[in-house]
């Protein structure tokens, strides 16, 4: 093993990650708070009502970023799980473990806000729209992951088994999305809810992009706090903790 692996081991060492996560958290948390607040003002006050959906379109500022987080978090979780599985890196497993709960929360948020948006737009809370359906399946994938993790008592085994599941899930998600789109195109007329409008005016688009940024930074901050908790939980007998917790 050459010297160029030093950074990798340093990066994977729990004390280093614990300290680094602590240092980084405020650098994610405050910009997250600022951009979410700015985006709220931009989205609720500055942006003009949509020409078709009126004021109702403003649900997009919480729905779309939640949906984005739910998918992104799964990708982060699977990447961390893969790193943990391949390089047997405990910290990466801890990172994957800290992702799942947050991801499930925001999948639920995207589903509920999608339903609340659907009621005025479709006239009913639930339509088997491909996006909503795919989100529902994603929620089941998260629940399976969390269930498997909590079903296995031995932490090392829970880490590796759930990592395999996360990787299987990440291969499957694009296929599931494709199949659901395909299914929908056969059985239903295209949905009324167009989310990615390329013609969205700047006053609407900028707050949305800010919201995406804010949610992503928020996730990073919360995930780092959870990661520190996971590391402490796993490494509680190590002597470095004495230093770190002083």
């Amino acid at each position: 093993m050459g010297t160029n692996w030093a950074w990798f081991h340093r990066f994977g060492s729990p004390p280093h990650v614990y300290r680094l996560a602590g240092l980084l958290t405020p650098w994610f948390a405050w910009p997250a708070a600022l951009s979410i607040l700015a985006a709220l003002y931009g989205g609720l006050v500055l942006a003009p009502p949509d020409y078709q959906q009126g004021e109702g379109f403003r649900i997009i500022y919480v729905h779309a970023p939640s949906a984005w987080l739910s998918v992104m978090i799964y990708a982060v979780m699977a990447t961390a799980a893969g790193v943990g599985l391949i390089w047997r890196m405990k910290v990466a497993h801890a990172a994957a473990a800290s992702c799942a709960g947050i991801g499930a929360w925001f999948t639920v948020v995207s589903l509920v806000t999608g339903m609340l948006w659907g009621k005025p737009m479709w006239g009913t809370y639930w339509v088997w729209d491909p996006r909503l359906t795919a989100q529902l399946v994603l929620l089941f994938l998260y629940l399976g992951y969390i269930g498997l993790r909590s079903g296995i008592d031995d932490l090392g085994r829970a880490d590796r088994a759930s990592a395999v599941l996360a990787l299987v899930g990440v291969v499957n998600i694009p296929i599931i999305r494709y199949s659901v789109e395909w299914w929908n195109s056969i059985h239903q007329a295209p949905s009324v809810m167009k989310m990615a409008k390329p013609s969205m005016p700047m006053e609407m688009l900028v707050p949305l992009l800010l919201m995406f940024l804010g949610f992503t930074l928020y996730f990073a901050a919360v995930m780092l706090v959870r990661l520190r908790a996971e590391i402490l939980r796993r490494e509680r007998s190590a002597s470095w903790i004495r230093e770190a917790l002083r």
Partner: protein, 56 residues
Amino acid sequence: MSEFFAMDGYAAFLWPSYLITFVAIVANIVIALKAHASARAAALRRLEGDPAGTQT
């Protein structure tokens, strides 16, 4: 102001959406901080019981 909160009749759908998102954001912060605090407390208790801090 009341016109802003009425949201042109969409209030019943718009504000609950924002509320549940807000709840999720706050809840996740609380969960994360609590998890860290309890893990920290457990680690400290462990260190007190085992001054060398090397035994499992």
